[in-house]
């Protein structure tokens, strides 16, 4: 599975990529929404795992852009911050519904989730 991981904290993005690769996925770490969209259009991933609150373009805007470009790409958001709930509610009011996970994600659970 081709997966892009977006998180402004490189240690999180990098370790997740490492974990995903260990399970045989083809993963790529980026630290901004903008680069995520750019790379998504190039590599056409099966899934994007993105943090919600990031400087610059946030995870929801990123996800919306990727959804429009790649309707079949699965998008999983993850967040440890309370502010994300309001942003998600806003997105849903506009018709966007996303899978959301709370940080910290247990890696085994994430891998399992990707299998479904």
């Amino acid at each position: 599975m081709k997966i892009i991981v977006v998180d402004d904290e490189p240690i999180i993005a990098d370790t997740l990529v490492n974990i995903l690769e260990g399970e045989g996925h083809d993963a790529l770490a980026v630290s901004h929404g903008e680069s995520a969209i750019k790379w998504a259009k190039m590599v056409l991933p099966d899934a994007v795992i993105s943090d919600v609150i990031m400087p610059g373009m946030n995870g929801i805007e990123t996800a919306k852009a990727i959804m429009q470009a790649l309707p079949n790409c699965r998008i999983i958001l993850f967040s440890g911050q309370t502010a994300s709930v309001d942003m998600l509610a806003k997105a849903r009011a506009e018709g966007y519904s996303f899978e959301v996970l709370a940080k910290p994600i247990n890696p085994e659970k994430l891998l399992e989730k990707l299998k479904n």
Binding site: E9, I11, I12, T15, L16, N18, I19, G22, F78, S79, G80, Q81, T82, A83, S84, V85, D86, L88, A89, R92, A93, S97, F98, E99, V100, L101, A102, K103, P104, I105, N106, P107, E108, K109, L110, K113
Partner: protein, 523 residues
Amino acid sequence: MSSFSPTNATDTVAASSSEAEKAQRRLAAIIESSEDAIASKDLNGIITSWNKSAERLFGYTAEEIIGQPVTLIIPQELQDDEPRILGKIRAGERIEHFQTVRLHKNGQLIDVSLTVSPIRDDKGKIVGAAKIVRDITRQKKLEEAALRLAAIVESSDDAIASKDLNGIITSWNRSAEKLFGYKADEIIGKPVTTIIPPELHHDENTILSKIRRGEKIDHFETLRLHKNGERIEVSLTISPIKDDNGNVIGAAKIIRNITETNKIERALRTTEKLAAAGRMAATVAHEINNPLEAVTNLVYLAKRDLSKNDKVAGYLELASRELDRVAHITRQTLGFYRDTSSPVLLNVTETLDDLLLLYEKRFESRNIKLIKQYDKDTEITALAGEIRQAFSNLVTNAIDAMPDGGTLVLRVAKSHEWSGAQHRGVRVTILDTGSGIEAKHKKSIFQPFFTTKSDVGTGLGLWITRGIIEKHRGAIRMKSRAGQHDHGTAFSIFLPTEYAAGNPDTSSTEGKHSTLISAGGPA
């Protein structure tokens, strides 16, 4: 001179000072100076003598009234008394301390006590009656005042008791009986230390010495002992009792039970602490979650990439388990209010009323009108702390929604579950006339961290409230209307009568809209 003149005083005898005459004059002087009104009448009821006090009491001078019928000073409705009195006198009987009413010259009624005795002539024949009339108006008033006071004391909601200067209980009202479990006749005559816990006996000396100095003790909060050994938190107000000369002869105490008030205060403090803890947890949790995510991943990778070092593998396994614990705790602290106590029988209306007391000031200052519509017998078995928290959240939300005043309606009714009639319970409706919830927010209000109150909201209130209600296998519903007219919000809660723990994980997983942060954590 208007003076007492015995019937036979008209016989003018020369001023020879015979013994009999002397005695008679002495008697006349005594009668004239008596504090009691003294008069006499013949058997036809004609007044024959009238002393100074009688003049004072009835307003008639002796000249005016001697020779007049005694019925002159008897009120119309009591005229029948006179033939009866005369009848008794004729029979040689004496009438003692007969309490009745007589008439003053000015028409006013006087409460009197009469003593009427027959007067006999030398041969022992009854020729008239002597009456001693005592004005008991003042005494009656005092008696009435005392009775009124006694009734007030007896019916007071506060326990009222008195003791003498040796600390011996001298009176004990009904509320005292209720508060302490001792009947008045059990405790009167006993030392007051009977109701003071042993370790506080020394307090009594301090109190008594203050009282002896004539000082008052105001709202002294202390502990007292119920007959059953239980300790009661009380507020005492003790005042010295003084006699007519100003000497302290004892003490009157008003004892107010503040056990419940203190309980509520403590509960409120706890609630406030929890709310603060909740706010802090919300802030800290998301600061912690990012590093936690990183460490979790790192430990996972270290474990994965480790080859053939069982020792290190063991350490990492432990580290990973500990991390799961930390993650679990941060998630738990967000659902910060967990009542671990066991369910108790609680009266829903009382619980609400207790809470409302705490918000009284805010109702006043914001000009919020309170309307209560309570059914009777609204008892349920529930976790008291959590239910209080849930009600408190809804009431504070209502207050926050009405910064410029409004009406808060609290309805408590016996009810059945909406879905069917199987479960009996209580429905609580909390309705405000505040700004209402905008349609776009309606779906989000029960989500954690959702708040429109950017400065005061934690966004946890309704989420926690729903968690609590669901834990009690109840249900919560909201109706709201925003806009110009008829705006407001109503929350309706159903709580079943019997407590049966519901889903212990109250952290709101709404499967279909995967918008809630909840899944994915270690179980």
